[in-house]
Symmetry: C2
């Protein structure tokens, strides 16, 4: 519920929680966990520190909520694209990967929130490590299912191992998201992507 909207009696809700979470997610995406200060969050979100704490807990809790939101929005959309009905599994893979390559090469991309998180997380931070693993596993599983279907349909080299190539694609996509942040030509990532697909295709 937005500030100022008519609302039933009860504790006042001063801001749109969902929209605030999206803005926090986008700030962490651009700046990383370490690079995002509380005062930056307050400024970007237009919400005071006390309200943030009351609604989300501390900065870490807001970050974990942002990771989960990213999984349910950005990662889920990629997974859905991989299973689009009416297209062959390989065609779905080519379309999704091509779109990612063009996006990350566009100069509009901030990389991947998960990759930015991976680059900063400390190994012994069990909570954030678990959250990152969960979202990456979702992506790996979706790649594996699509690769298995493409293999079954005879679209891939017969010796492709779907689980191994799914991991290959997760690593490749993460690397591409990183490199897109400094790519000096929009052709770099799509040609790299095309080379990766050539290695899978029958």
């Amino acid at each position: 519920m937005r500030h100022g909207a008519r609302r039933p009696p009860g504790p006042p809700k001063q801001f749109d929680t969902q929209r605030t979470l999206e803005r926090a997610r986008d700030l962490f995406w651009r700046r990383g966990f370490d690079g995002t200060g509380l005062s930056e969050l307050e400024g970007e979100l237009g919400v005071g520190r006390k309200s943030l704490y009351d609604t989300f807990g501390n900065k870490r809790a807001l970050y974990l909520a942002s990771l989960a939101h990213y999984g349910d929005s950005v990662i889920a959309a990629i997974c859905d694209g991989l299973e689009r009905p009416g297209a062959s599994p390989l065609a779905n893979l080519e379309r999704v990967l091509g779109k990612l390559a063009r996006h990350h090469a566009s100069g509009e991309s901030h990389g991947c929130l998960l990759g930015v998180g991976l680059a900063q997380v400390q190994r012994d931070d069990a909570e954030i490590v678990a959250a990152l693993r969960r979202e990456l596993a979702r992506l790996e599983d979706a790649f594996e299912r699509t690769l298995q279907r493409a293999l079954d349909a005879g679209e891939l080299r017969p010796n492709v191992r779907p689980r191994d190539s799914a991991r290959q694609l997760v690593a490749f996509v993460q690397g591409m998201a990183l490199l897109g942040r400094i790519a000096d030509s929009p052709a770099v990532l799509p040609t790299a992507m095309s080379a990766t697909l050539d290695g899978l295709r029958r």
Copy 2:
């Protein structure tokens, strides 16, 4: 020149510049540029702020020097491995990539200093972007030369394009370095690497 060594008259050098630079590089590697504070640098390096400024300039200059040092040590060693005489080009590629996969999966890896930098750099920071591009281009060029030699030797699929696959490998290695920070099994990266090589091999 080390502290305490006999030296000619002149301004006293209070610490080993090279060793200090390596320690700074390793701290940026583990913590990133944003995550590394001046007081952390002082503590880790055992050098006071004034000495650091006098020798390296500010934190940014120390970071740029760390990137160059990383290129001349870590990246240069990878490039040398790709051109080792007495082994076939594909064997060099397999050995170097296999070593990277095992290293990043070992739990000892901090990822890649360049990848950690990529995840944090702001697009409009021309100086750091240029430094990251320079070191990544060094790696891409070495991959391309090795792929071209392997192609000429008939070790690769005949339709492999060395420049495109070199970009593919840079992205893949960057992704692998990231994922190694949270991999829950030492098998994940070597199997992904093996899938990547299977896609290149004749």
